[in-house]
């Protein structure tokens, strides 16, 4: 029997690749550094282009074309997938088609195959939490820094004995035939872009943080409030290209932030009482049918200002006084705002440069580049090494899925 395929990163792209491979009879080791998989998509609330849930998943082979909700994707019960959460790649060696991969597996405090989400532990201890009702695997997570008496009681009383508080990290070395990189993108934390005050002023947040606030299943139950005082936020300003198209940070366009921002602007303008949104931009880049978001935003009364923010000052009651240079009118405008949302650049995830170096891959602005650029074959990034999703550069969910399928197509061809 052939060696398994290693998929690094269990977001939209990695999970799709893993499931498609598994359904085609290929053994897969799916690794994610977090305890809850799903990657960035898990926190999106609504995803474009369909504006329904962040994520769904193909469920059963006997109903192709029909999707299942993410939480029902049963990754831990797929016979051909070995899901390893809380795990990082320490080293890759060997040769293409026979890679040796050393994994460091963090403590497995909760066995996801045993956890039945009965709620007992969450009731008696702060250390346990259900990340999201739609988390995957469907299991609670444990935070050892919050260890309390209740946690010990939970360990004892857990009906399935799924909890092990003194679990230790371990190591494992596996041999794999192919490697699929699906480590996604990371939203830049624009602390260094000091003109906006991110990290200093509480009411300055990023788009992904706004998505959490708007999510009815999120920590605030979908109430649009100012982080500083919990008061309802009515006047919202968004600023595009924070760190993108900027020689000081990332020279590339992050591609999806305009749509991301306008999706949120429309939700606020149409579904939140008295929500008023202004978007400060250089070029609005709603490619292809995403133009719809731009049309809808204008219809919903979202205000567009072409220019840049020149100053952000917080007043005593945490309102933000913002000065904007309007390049169409060639003058400065002043705004009083509750919440400033930064459309921050999407950057390569941490640790990617090391993988790129180890595997000797090409790069595209820090992301993974195709092995043979002239072939226009983006998913083949090395010999027996493939990539899909945000690791190839900012990507939407449908693109990530397509790329994952292209990868699987290529791997299956290699095994014919």
């Amino acid at each position: 029997m052939s060696d398994p395929v290693l998929v690094i990163g269990a977001g939209v792209a990695g999970m799709t690749a893993a499931v498609e491979l598994a359904d085609n009879g290929v053994q897969v080791v799916l690794v994610d550094r977090k305890s809850t998989i799903g990657g960035n998509a898990l926190n999106l609330y609504k995803a474009f282009p369909t504006d329904d849930c962040f994520y769904c998943f193909e469920g059963n082979r006997w109903r192709p074309g029909i999707r299942k909700c993410f939480y029902r994707s049963a990754m831990i019960d797929q016979p051909n997938i070995e899901l390893m959460t809380n795990t990082i790649i320490q080293d890759i060696s060997g040769t293409p088609s026979k890679f040796t991969v050393k994994l460091v597996i963090g403590p497995q405090y909760v066995d996801p195959k045993k956890c039945i989400m009965c709620g007992l532990c969450v009731e008696v201890s702060e250390a346990f939490a259900l990340e999201s009702p739609q988390c995957q695997p469907q299991a609670v997570t444990y935070d050892p820094s919050k260890l309390d008496e209740g946690a010990k009681k939970a360990e004892q009383d857990c009906p399935t004995k799924a909890i092990s508080l003194d679990a230790n990290p371990s190591e494992k070395t596996i041999t794999v035939s192919d490697i699929v990189l699906a480590t996604g993108y990371h939203e830049m934390q624009p602390v260094a872009v000091d003109e906006y005050g991110y990290g200093v002023l509480q009411n300055v947040i990023t788009q992904l943080e706004l998505a959490r606030i708007l999510d009815p299943n999120g920590p605030l139950g979908g109430r649009l409030v100012r982080p500083s005082d919990g008061r309802e936020a009515k006047r919202i300003m968004m600023i595009q290209c924070v760190g993108s198209r900027d020689e000081n940070y990332y020279p590339f366009c992050s591609k999806i932030c305009c749509v991301f921002a306008l999706k949120h602007a429309n939700i606020i303008a149409n579904e939140r009482a008295d929500g008023r949104v202004s978007v400060v931009y250089m070029d609005i880049r709603t490619y292809d049918r995403h133009e719809r978001y731009y049309r809808e935003a204008r219809e919903a009364g979202v205000e567009f200002v072409r220019g840049r923010i020149s100053r952000v000052v917080s007043t005593e009651d945490d309102t933000l006084e913002i000065t904007v240079y309007d390049s169409l009118l060639d003058k400065y405008l002043r705004f009083s705002i509750d919440l400033l949302v930064l459309s921050s650049a999407l950057e390569p995830p941490e640790g990617l440069d090391e993988i790129i170096k180890t595997l000797g891959l090409k790069t595209a602005s820090g992301y993974v580049g195709p092995a043979d650029a002239a072939s226009e074959d983006e998913v083949v990034v090395g010999e027996h090494v493939y990539a899909c999703g945000g690791v190839l550069g900012p990507a939407e969910i449908p693109e990530s899925v397509n790329q994952a399928r292209a990868v699987v197509s290529k791997i299956l061809q290699g095994r014919k």
Partner: protein, 721 residues
């Protein structure tokens, strides 16, 4: 075969607040329950072994009342199959998310649970085992279109083991990419990009190329398509027998002859961007009007795109196209002046760097619009409005190049009539589901790759083609399709040939077959056409069943009798004292929403009973009316959001029609109030279900006893003056 089932109740590690003693006693009394076992952890090893033991009794009929089947069903089925047992006769009831976790009142939650178990027993009593079936199909795929997407999908399918025919309408392969002088970000020419693929196709004996081929129509279904086409000007008709089809017919560049303001088609020095590409590919940059060298070019973006009169959306590629061409122009004549008039420059990811490069090389960008083009002394004059400077500029370019909209290719709508894929408002082929299923189309066995679905960059079209190859490989499984036949089964004798199923199936599975013997029958009995359904091609939504006027087509795991028996059993004892809302919920978005409500333990009134259906489109008018006849006070259908039906896009719209008609019927027979309603939901917004169920509970209460409860339904009531 008996009709009794073993019943398993799971306490979820003794954590569920339900009266299991009551449930055990009450369920034991039910005639259809053979035995009742209360278990603490069915999902764990020991529990799975318990299920395996019980499956050997009662021919395998088991009712499992536990947590959501969306979670435990895969695990149970995998365990049983690994042990050689058939799980197809298990019926699930969700006691946890749909009852214990959402109703504080132990008694009410237990009663609701009991009713739903009773319903499941009734459904289980008439369940039939599902069989593993196998069929062999031709290992052959037809690719329509020989551009970059068509070539790439042909090569991938061939590598996956399929014989491939490429039908190309032009005389040569390659499509639009052939004419591109350079493709960002690599800077390679289109010919270079195509070369390795063209060579590979030529060297591959498993790929047959037919050029000058025009596809006329398609017959048949997945595994057995027949593609009809003609070659060249000949009247000779050809055909290909094939199992699946890749639509890769690319795009068409908009020719703005009707937009007078640009003088395209009247002034020979006004070109489209692709016309300029062709000129640059040939290495000759001259004015078409007089053959003189070109020193100044004005390019205009968004001609026809982002324009309500032509194409509403952005064409995505044109900004990069224009920049590519302007760099190529500067390569050929470094002294040339290039101005690009734009609204927003849209260059994704690293194309931004090409944009920057072009600025550095002196390409002049003017934000604004062209206000007028005219000719003067053999020169082209252009007036530009600059919105940043708020002023007008007049210039005399040698070439005016229009970045015109990317439109769908010819023939998409015509072919959709026989191929059965859906078409977007903008004329491109519509994805099965925009978020996750791009290359798939509504019609099973037909995928679409490349610009035929949306404007795509070359690398995107390549990825699209590779993904499309996988989608078809998943479907065709190398020519041997082996799976459990779970879906619609047609009893041909009962078919009346109305073709509703063939018209409305979300995936285009039923076919209408001409009846050869029909001629011999007399006029009354004659059906010229009857439906045929291949259960292995069906995806089991039940739309055909709810529409079938003669009950000829039924899902083999949820027949009409099964659902009616379940309705009757669930509603046993339902009356005016405690009005009951019956909720049919689809096992896609609705079940997720209701499960998430459960996981978040959001409380809602308990006087409702829930019945799962694979898709809302499975619920017929008769099912709705039956629920009312059996004592329900209100009936609701919980379905996917509008335009987001997970069963191919139309199941929830069919359900809406059923609900509308049911309302009309009720109105006509004097049930004035709205006791039937349809609700759309998705799991990211769990409150949608809460609002819906509260609304229907409220209506049940407010409207009081139904005519059924009053005993007046179905009776003639004398009208008094």
């Amino acid at each position: 075969m008996g009709n009794k089932s073993s019943v398993l109740l799971c306490t979820c590690g003794k954590q569920l607040k339900l009266d299991f003693d009551f449930l055990k006693v009450q369920v034991s009394k039910l005639g259809l329950a053979d035995s009742v076992t209360v278990h603490d952890l069915l999902c764990q090893e020991e529990g799975l072994a318990t299920i395996e033991n019980l499956i050997s009794k009662n021919d395998g009929r088991v009712v499992i009342a536990a947590c959501t089947n969306q979670k435990i069903q895969p695990r149970i089925e995998q365990y049983l199959r690994a042990n050689g047992k058939d799980p197809s006769l298990i019926t699930y009831v969700n006691l946890r998310e749909h009852s214990a976790w959402v109703h504080e009142d132990l008694k009410e939650a237990s009663r609701k649970s009991l009713d739903m178990i009773r319903g499941a027993l009734a459904r289980s009593a008439k369940a039939v085992p599902l069989q593993l079936e196998k069929k062999n199909i031709k290992n052959h795929v037809t690719v329509i279109g020989g551009g970059i997407a068509g070539l790439e999908s042909a090569l991938n399918l061939s590598a996956l083991g399929y014989e491939v025919v490429i039908l190309e309408k032009a005389g040569t392969l390659g499509g639009h990419v052939l004419d591109l002088p350079m493709v960002a970000p690599t800077g390679k020419s289109g010919k270079e990009i195509l070369k390795s693929r063209l060579d590979a196709v030529e060297a591959n004996s498993g790929i047959t190329v037919v050029t000058n081929a025009m596809v006329k129509y398609v017959e048949g279904e997945m595994g057995d398509f027949r593609v009809h086409y003609i070659v060249g000007d000949s009247e000779k008709k050809s055909e290909t027998l094939t199992s699946a089809i890749v639509m890769a017919t690319g795009f068409k560049e908009f020719k703005p002859t009707m937009m007078d303001e640009y003088r395209y088609g009247k002034n020979p020095d006004v070109l489209t961007q692709l016309e300029l590409s062709k000129m640059l590919s040939l290495g000759a940059l001259t004015r078409p009007s007089n053959g003189e060298t070109v020193k100044e070019i004005v390019m205009v973006q968004c001609v026809g795109s982002r324009n309500e009169n032509y194409k509403r959306d952005c064409s995505k590629l044109c900004c990069t196209f224009a920049i590519d061409n302007s760099l190529e122009v500067l390569k050929m004549s470094p002294d040339a002046t290039v101005r690009i008039v734009y609204m927003d420059i849209r260059v994704p990811f690293e194309n931004e760097m090409i944009y920057k490069e072009s600025r550095e090389k002196g390409v002049d960008y003017i934000r604004g619009r062209i206000s007028m083009v005219w000719e003067e002394n053999g020169q082209t004059k252009v007036r530009i409005y600059d919105s940043l400077m708020n002023k007008y500029i007049e210039t005399t370019p040698d070439l005016l190049v229009l970045s015109t909209a990317i439109l769908p290719p010819e023939g998409i709508t015509e072919l959709s009539e026989t191929m059965g894929y859906a078409v977007e408002d903008d004329g491109h082929i519509k994805d099965l589901y925009g978020k996750l299923r791009r290359t798939e189309t509504r019609r099973r066995g037909i995928v679409a790759a490349g610009a035929v679905t949306r404007p795509q960059f070359v690398f995107e079209a390549v990825t699209d083609a590779q993904a499309a190859a996988l989608v078809l490989h998943n479907e065709l499984q190398g020519g041997v399709i082996q799976k459990i036949a779970r879906g619609a089964v047609l009893n041909v004798d009962d078919c009346v040939g109305c073709s509703l199923c063939a018209q409305q199936c979300p995936r285009g599975v039923p076919l209408m077959i001409e009846q050869a013997e029909a001629e011999e029958l007399d006029e009354d009995q004659k059906f010229l056409f009857k439906a045929a359904i291949d259960t292995l091609n069906c995806h089991a939504c039940g739309v055909c069943q709810s529409l079938c006027p003669s009950g000829a087509t039924e899902l083999n795991f949820l027949t009409n009798e099964q659902l009616w028996d379940e309705i009757d059993a669930v509603l046993e004892g339902a009356g005016p004292e405690e009005p009951i809302t019956l909720c049919f919920y689809c096992e896609e978005c609705a079940v997720s929403t209701i499960d998430i409500v459960g996981t978040r333990r959001i409380q809602y009134p308990s006087n409702n009973r829930l019945i799962p259906v694979p898709c809302a489109g499975r619920v017929s008018i008769i099912d709705i009316l039956r629920a009312l006849e059996k004592g329900a006070s209100t009936v609701m259908i919980a379905a996917c959001e509008k335009d987001r039906c997970h069963a191919g896009g139309t199941g929830n719209e069919i359900a809406q029609i059923q609900v509308d008609v049911a309302q009309d019927i009720l109105n006509a027979i004097g049930w004035k109030e709205k006791r039937v309603e349809m609700f759309r939901m998705f799991s990211a917004e769990p409150e949608r279900f809460i609002k819906a169920i509260e609304e229907m509970t409220e209506r049940a209460k407010k409207l009081g006893p139904t005519p059924v409860h009053d005993g007046t339904a179905g009776k003639w009531v004398e009208v008094t003056k």
